[in-house]
């Protein structure tokens, strides 16, 4: 009985996380369209609801009722599991992401994360690495040249950007002496990591953009040259699963940027709840990602590789070297 009762808060937290994550892309698509629109000096969606706020709902209904088409020559099994493979990692990552210090409720201490793993950061990097399998499988299973090209690009991109991304957080881990995200946050009491580790932040931010496959690194789904890249052949609900995964990866990256380099829930004004302050920062990063998207053009394939191997990797190694030297 004891054990069953201790499961209840975990189950409730899981339900909340899954529910929020499933609904989160709706306001995010609205936000993205609004930001795109205002950069291009137009108001964006205006007609469905107040300032187009209900537009994502209308779009969701449209997507869900559309024909779910599978190409004749496609590998049907892989084709149908690929969106799920793409969608699971961003959900899994949120297991380890804390959104605040533990709070007291109903006489017990409740941690504001599903599980504050002591290797949280490693878990997140490893799990989010799986996400690219969704892209690869989708491109391969579609049996279409654009889709395969898109997934080939995403493989190359992942190899060149996972490494600097992993290296760039080592400096943070060295400073905190732990891979537990809550400890990394509490080690930033007083001084945020972005001040101590500006190079690390830069490398993490850029390789994070590449990891999320967003402009200027959105080669796997380059609309201009590949149709829609790996999800060219997808439609209806499967396509919407890919969209969901894409937006969630952006949210994950915003969370990681804030937790690792911008002090997580620390440093807010006193009247704001810590969690709210964290979410504010996360929202800011999501906005920055969207702002970048509508400012920069896409890098060429070779430029992408050059940046990854010749710029970010040496920079991240240098960052480790310098922080190691300073700490010793």
């Amino acid at each position: 009985m004891e054990n069953v009762l201790s499961l209840v808060p975990v189950l409730i937290k899981m339900a909340i996380v899954v529910g929020v994550l499933l609904l989160l892309p709706l306001p995010l698509t609205w936000l993205e369209r609004k930001i795109a629109a205002h950069i291009q000096q137009r108001p964006g969606p205006m007609r469905v609801g107040w300032h187009g706020l209900l537009q994502p709902l209308a779009d969701a209904i449209k997507l869900l009722t559309k024909e779910d088409h599978i190409p004749a020559e496609a590998d049907r099994m892989l084709f149908s599991i690929a969106p799920v493979v793409a969608l699971v990692p961003p959900f899994l990552v949120f297991v380890a992401i804390p959104i605040g210090d533990p709070i007291q409720m109903f006489g017990t201490e409740i941690a504001l994360s599903i599980s504050d793993l002591n290797v949280g950061l490693l878990f997140i990097l490893a799990v989010s690495g799986i996400g690219v399998f969704g892209t690869i499988l989708a491109g391969w299973a579609s049996n279409s040249k654009y889709a395969v090209l898109g997934s080939l690009r995403s493989i190359a991109q992942m190899i060149s950007y996972e490494i600097p991304m992993g290296f760039s957080v080592i400096g943070v881990v060295m400073l905190a002496g732990s891979m537990q995200l809550s400890q990394i946050v509490s080690s930033q009491q007083g001084l945020w990591n972005v001040v101590v580790q500006p190079i690390g932040f830069f490398v993490f931010f850029v390789s994070g953009l590449a990891e999320a496959q967003r402009i200027p690194f959105d080669l796997p789904e380059a609309e201009g040259d590949l149709g829609a890249g790996y999800h060219t052949e997808y439609s209806g609900i499967r396509f919407s699963l890919f969209m969901l995964a894409e937006y969630l990866v952006v949210v994950v990256l915003a969370f990681l940027n804030v937790l690792l380099f911008f002090g997580g829930w620390l440093g807010g004004p006193a009247f704001l709840p810590a969690t709210f302050w964290l979410l504010l920062k996360v929202g800011f990063f999501i906005w920055v990602f969207m702002w970048l998207r509508f400012t920069f053009p896409r890098y060429r394939y070779d430029q992408l590789m050059t940046i990854g191997w010749k710029l970010l990797l040496p920079l991240s190694l240098l960052n480790i070297l310098v922080s190691g030297y300073v700490m010793l």
Partner: protein, 192 residues
């Protein structure tokens, strides 16, 4: 920046990503600037210039009679044969049109009928919303033409308007305090 010639930064600028930051600053400026889009058909409507050739209208004289003398010059000159005029003699013995139909689906709004008209009757006005669900309603008759809006007095502005959902989804300009209308060109952000 693009118009005044691209300035390339030196290596310090490139290391500090000055070019990228300049781009970001530009888009941020646009993000907080006003939009230039007409909120048509919900709140605003473009009133065309006086020279605009839109939906035809027929002028009437002081007694409320149409100016048209049914000479059929307009239907003769019409390059797409969209005007049908059948004359008759009214009580006063004047020659007037019994039927004056214009098929707007065929009309190319060239304005030759306006030029040909000897009686200052047929004109092309400011109305440009002629979309409809039925092709038949595109054939307009004499009474429609008399009622149709004339040339825009002070055109070339954006006026507050409202979408009229009852009578065939037209955007109707509102006469109100902002009667003069808004100079749309003033919304456009120009770089010096």
């Amino acid at each position: 920046m693009a118009r005044t010639g691209v300035k390339r930064s030196n290596w310090i600028g490139r290391v500090l990503l000055v070019d990228l930051l300049a781009g970001l600053r530009l888009t941020l400026g646009y993000m907080v600037s006003k939009t230039v889009t007409h909120h048509y058909p919900d709140y605003e409507k473009w009133v065309p210039y006086q020279r605009h050739r839109g939906h035809h209208f027929i002028k009437t004289n002081d007694e409320g009679e149409v100016n048209c003398v049914a000479c059929e010059l307009c239907s003769q000159i019409c390059p797409c044969d969209c005007i049908t005029v059948i004359p008759f003699e009214n009580e006063k013995g004047d020659r007037r049109p019994k039927v004056f139909d214009i098929n707007l689906a065929r009309c190319l709004y060239c304005g030759l009928c306006e030029d040909a008209c000897p009686a200052d009757a047929i004109k092309l006005g400011q109305e440009y919303e002629v979309a409809t669900h039925h092709r038949g309603t595109l054939v307009v008759h004499l009474e429609d033409l008399v009622k149709a809006p004339g040339k825009a007095g002070n055109g070339g502005v954006v006026r507050p308007a409202k979408l009229d959902r009852n009578s065939g989804l037209r955007s109707v300009t509102q006469t109100g305090p902002k009667d003069a209308g808004l100079d749309w060109w003033s919304r456009i952000r120009r770089e010096r």
